[in-house]
Amino acid sequence: MSASPLRVALVAVNSPGYRSLALGYLRAYAEAHPALAGRVAFQTLDMDTAVSPWWVAYRVLSMEPDVVALSVNCWNADAVHAACRVLAAARPRMPIVLGGPEVGPVAEEVLRRHAAVTAVVRGEGESTFADALSAFLRDGELWRVEGVTARRGGEVVSADDRPLIADLDSIPSPYLAGVMPVVDGATYLETYRGCPNSCGYCFEGKGYGRVRRFSEQRVREEIDCVAHTPGITSFSFIDPVFNLPGDRFERLCEHLAFHAVRGVRLHTIELDVEAVGPEQAAMLRRAGVASVEVGPQTVGATALETCRRRFDRERFVAGVTALKAQGISVECDLIVGLPGDTFDDVVDGWRFVTSLDPWKIQCSTLRVLPGTDLFIRADELGLAFDPEPPHEVVATGQMGFVALRRAEVAGTVLSEEHGARLEGGTV
């Protein structure tokens, strides 16, 4: 008679309306892992931040799992840790494993500060988590697993880093594998990992390094799966730059165009807008792109240099103009509190984006995220930030606390004022 499978609860506390693609990948990879076949049973719980930590714990415990794994980002960290405390109090021997950008780069600190947490999966999680589950089945010695930080007796021990997965196609698609439902407007695909840019405030490039791509065939299969799902009218890609240079982008657009003619649209696609000309804008339109996000985050020369970000005003304007001419809604994003930006730089940014009259302006406050370049260089740059998530900037070398608060309020109000408009003004 075989032993009962290890019951694993995969738990996400998402922004309302979202589902965790990360957990979908973890589950799809682990379910296909030969060492785990038939030995592990998964259940995924997608909840949102409006759910109380006690209710999260209730839902998890009612599943009677042997192991709980939660994905942690800066915006859900408080809720996740609160739920973990309840879970640990209710089931002290049940292992709790965390992963995600909020905990991976500071794994040892997380384990020292949060007694409820058993282990942290650092970096890209699929193969590490699968091996961690194998360790649970074997001897429970998680601290030996590459990419894991765990407790060994009273110590916190970090095993070596795990290399990035070389062949992304070895990670099954959660949609094709059927472990994630395809939901209209809330389905996200990924065509590559990493980022061609290395902006100092962003975890994307820092966490995944060089650009690694899923194969075109795999991407096409995922697109077809999603686009042919009954009731689907729109989905999105989480690629940090959708329009990477090269023929592959053009072929991807051509493939998407087959679905666009049936009315399937793409929303909130992130673009390198400075690479967009009239021809590419038309291509994006044919591909069904309805809305895009384009930066510039700041127009201040010092902040751009400090954050290793480029900005060409003329090319930016040309790109936005080309997109608008194709009827594509453009969202311009600005960040308040970047090191190097003065108050006047922030105001210049507002003036610049309002002069473009995009569909939407999003002004957010800098979050100094663990593992990012700004996090590492905070002292050198004179950046003060809240050590607790979501790590909002408190003061910079150029803007004190009062100036930042005034600017963030004004930026938020500007977004609302701008968004109250006739064209595209419906919620």
Binding site: W350, D357, V409, A410, E416, E417, L422, G425, T426
Partner: protein
């Protein structure tokens, strides 16, 4: 912060301080005059970015042709249409929803002070409550219509309400205003007044709303010299 082209629908404000004697100034302009002003504004729009139009002066809702003016602005391609009102007319059944259906997304209510002072300065008992009813109707209509709207307040500052400004700002924000514009006479630059105005600006910030100053260089405010652009001026 967004620029609006002003089209006058009357003289004076929708509400004025009777102690200052400005209320007698309010009167609607003839329709043809408002139309000419709108057409001139439309003709002056430059290509690329659509303009924003604000109907203000007197009580715009007293103008029977207001729906026609709004429709013309929308048809001309205005991205945003605003009405500056006492707020009371918004409480009349159908007005708030009708405005939004017609394309008005920005509403600005003239307040002379906080709940306790407004009626006394307007010389109109019950006007504040009527304004708040109107504001509530505006917000309800926006919820129902799922339109993004923007509510702001205009406070014409005078010696009779300057000490009330922080309360007025707080009350306006509590009613849903995301911006409060303080229109300050340029002569009102004495230290005491400036302290109240500065406090009103800070009240806005801590309540996460924007306070803008018209008529006075914001650089004159203590602590705001470097941030004057926030208040509608240029930084020092």
């Amino acid at each position: 912060m967004l620029p609006f082209v002003e089209v006058k629908t009357g003289t004076g404000d929708a509400a004025g301080c009777v102690r200052c004697g400005v209320i007698s100034d309010a009167a609607p302009v003839p329709y043809e005059e408002a139309l000419r002003a709108l057409d001139a504004a439309v003709a002056a729009w430059t290509g690329g970015v659509n303009a924003n139009v604000s109907f203000s002066g007197g009580e715009p809702f007293d103008l029977p042709s207001l729906p026609d003016l709004v429709a013309r602005a929308v048809a001309a391609g205005a991205a945003r249409v605003r009405i500056v009102t006492s707020g009371a007319a918004l409480g009349v059944a159908g007005n708030a929803g009708g405005c939004q259906s017609a394309g008005v997304r920005h509403m600005r209510v003239v307040l002379l002070g906080s709940a306790g002072l407004h009626d006394a300065l307007a010389g109109s008992p019950g006007l504040y409550a009527a304004a708040m009813e109107g504001v509530a109707a505006w917000r309800d209509a926006a919820t129902l219509g799922r339109d993004r709207t923007f509510l702001s307040a205009l406070v014409p500052v005078c010696e009779h309400n300057v000490g009330d400004l922080p309360s007025a700002v707080a009350d306006a924000i509590a009613a849903g205003a995301r911006e409060v514009v303080l229109r300050v006479p340029s002569s009102m630059d004495d230290p005491r007044s400036m302290r109240w105005i500065g406090s009103a600006c800070d009240t806005g910030t801590v309540n996460r709303a924007r306070v803008t100053i018209e008529g006075l260089p914001a650089t004159a405010l203590d602590g705001y010299a470097e941030h004057a652009a926030l208040l509608g001026g240029e930084s020092r």
